[in-house]
């Protein structure tokens, strides 16, 4: 059964389209990275999935139900983001104490151990926390719910380097112990790459790629060489990105397929790319890049 099933989901804010025809399925028990540039529509998509906002058209199903105003979905999913709020009248300790009444699979023990590890003050109020501490607390809260669908929207915003890597380890270990569907959004793929099984890349409100990490890595390759050579090798290829390295040499990213054999025979240097580079090039606006600005 698919945990998430989106068919042609659209959403607009006033005149701009935030999401357009988003279609994808998420099968259970996978860690999926929701990757996209700033303003790609990641947050909007997550809010729709969590039932916080309503989409305009298309069909969204989470656990087979429309998430908006659905109690079962709300109970089995959580969206952790920096806009999460908790009553000011409760201390962090009390917030954690109230959670089990709502989340049937809440792990009190786990929550308090994480809480102690990250040295949060149990008597403090949520709104008085620093940005990083707030993100840490929200993360602890999100992980401890053990929700079948756990979504993180830019979870590491504001966290320092040490906390970030602790967070990733904690997430991975907890996922192995309690497999569930986890969706993490980030505009910084390199950092979460080691966690992910699948990547859902969206750009300008549309799904660009939805593949496993390995497939994404093999999606494109880079060819580098003298301009004339490179242009000859890549004739008929789907060029994703190209840039002049210097006067004579060109760097081209092309979709990976067998035609490049000729280039290989002629001794071109063909490089595989990291998933984050693939994502970056696929979503880049121009063929040139920042260098073109300075020409």
């Amino acid at each position: 059964m698919n945990v998430i099933d989106c068919q042609k989901v659209s959403k607009d804010f006033r005149r701009t389209n935030a999401l357009e025809d988003i279609t994808f399925q998420l099968t259970e028990q996978k860690i999926t990275g929701l990757i996209g540039r700033n303003g790609a529509g990641k947050t909007t998509l997550l809010k729709i999935l969590a039932g916080l906002t309503k989409h305009r058209s298309g069909e969204v199903n989470v656990f087979g139900k429309s998430p908006y105003n659905n109690l079962m979905v709300s109970e089995n999913s959580i969206l952790v983001d920096d806009q999460m709020t908790f009553p000011d009248s409760l201390t962090l300790e009390e917030v954690l104490q109230s959670a089990p009444a709502f989340y049937k699979r809440w792990d009190t023990e786990f929550a308090s151990r994480l809480f102690q590890y990250f040295k949060l003050n149990p008597k403090q109020q949520h709104s008085k926390l620093s940005k990083g501490a707030k993100a840490t607390f929200n993360m602890i809260f999100g992980l401890s719910t053990r929700c079948e669908l756990t979504m993180f929207d830019e979870p590491t915003n504001g966290m320092d380097e040490a906390v970030r890597s602790d967070f990733y380890r904690a997430l991975l270990k907890d996922y192995i112990a309690h497999p569930r569907s986890i969706l993490i959004s980030s505009h910084h793929l390199a950092e979460i790459e080691q966690l992910l099984e699948d990547i859902l890349l969206i750009h300008k409100g549309r799904v660009v790629l939805h593949q496993s990490l390995d497939e994404v890595k093999e999606y494109a390759v880079a060819v580098q060489g003298l301009i004339a050579d490179v242009e000859r090798w890549t004739v008929g290829e789907e060029i994703i990105h190209s840039k002049r390295i210097d006067d004579q040499r060109l760097y081209v990213v092309v979709k990976n397929n067998s035609k490049l054999e000729r280039a290989r025979i002629e001794g071109a240097s063909i490089q595989t790319l990291a998933a984050s580079e693939v994502c970056m090039y696929v979503t880049s606006e121009t063929k040139g890049g920042i260098d073109d600005v300075f020409k």
Binding site: L52, T53, K54, L71, D81, P87, A101, F102, K104, E148
Partner: protein, 242 residues
């Protein structure tokens, strides 16, 4: 994949518990207002007349000042629960708009009960003070024991009125959250009704033409439920964390 599936009832119950725990600081405001009511309301109503050459004055102490102050609090608490901060808190936990609305109504009702009973009894503080302080003659007032039904009815009437006021604050808050224009539109309509006298006719038929407190209570409860149902219906499209 294991999916837990709670009933609406159990989620509402958990939300009510949580909200009562989180919002009980409101009782602080309640206590302040009641103390204020006691201080200001020592001689709530004084009527005087003169017969032959004797001036007769009767000072009637009632809980009206406390009641009015607490009513204002009820309106603002109703409104407070609809503000973003309070609505979003619900969605950090398990909630739907329906469950969160129902929980709010129950919380408002529970607070109204507490406020109603304490407002009623705050009058007794005033009585005790006057009893030892005042030099004038006391008029027999019906005590709880010899007129328990009037005592109960008054308390229930206070509670339902407070619930009504909080639901008025609630629906106004929801309208304001939906769109500021809706809110001002509603205010304009209310003012228009006031001017045309329609409102007076409506309120007369609701509040004036009552044989007894009991009928008033029934009417107030029905109006409150209507207001709350309307708020639920219109708040169903309110987004969270937007």
């Amino acid at each position: 994949m294991f999916l837990s599936n709670s009933s609406l009832f159990s989620v509402v119950k958990a939300q009510v518990k949580f909200k009562i725990n989180a919002y009980n600081g409101l009782i602080y405001s309640l206590i302040i207002l009641q103390v204020l009511g006691i201080l200001l309301g020592g001689n709530a109503g004084s009527s005087g007349t003169s017969i032959n050459s004797t001036t007769i004055s009767l000072n009637t102490s009632t809980n009206d000042v406390s009641f009015i102050l607490v009513s204002l609090l009820a309106i603002s608490v109703g409104n407070l629960l609809t503000t973003k901060a309070y609505r979003y808190d619900d969605f950090s936990f398990v909630a739907t708009r329906l469950s969160s609305n129902i929980a709010n109504f129950i919380v408002l009702f529970i607070f109204s009960c507490f406020a109603g009973v304490t407002t009623y009894f705050s009058g007794y503080v005033m009585r005790l003070i006057l009893h030892f302080k005042s030099t004038s003659e006391f008029v027999d007032s019906s005590s709880i024991f010899n007129n328990p039904s009037s005592f109960l009815l008054t308390i229930v009437a206070i509670i339902t009125m407070l619930w009504l006021f909080s639901s008025i604050g609630y629906i106004a808050g929801i309208l304001f959250q939906m769109h500021k224009l809706f809110f001002f539109g509603a205010v304009v309509i209310v003012v228009m009704l006031l001017m045309t006298g329609t409102w007076i006719r409506i309120s007369e038929s609701i509040f004036v033409e009552n044989g007894s407190l009991l009928i008033l209570i029934m009417k107030v409860i029905i109006i409150t439920i209507l207001l709350l149902a309307t708020s639920t219906a219109i708040s169903n499209r309110l987004g969270v964390r937007t």
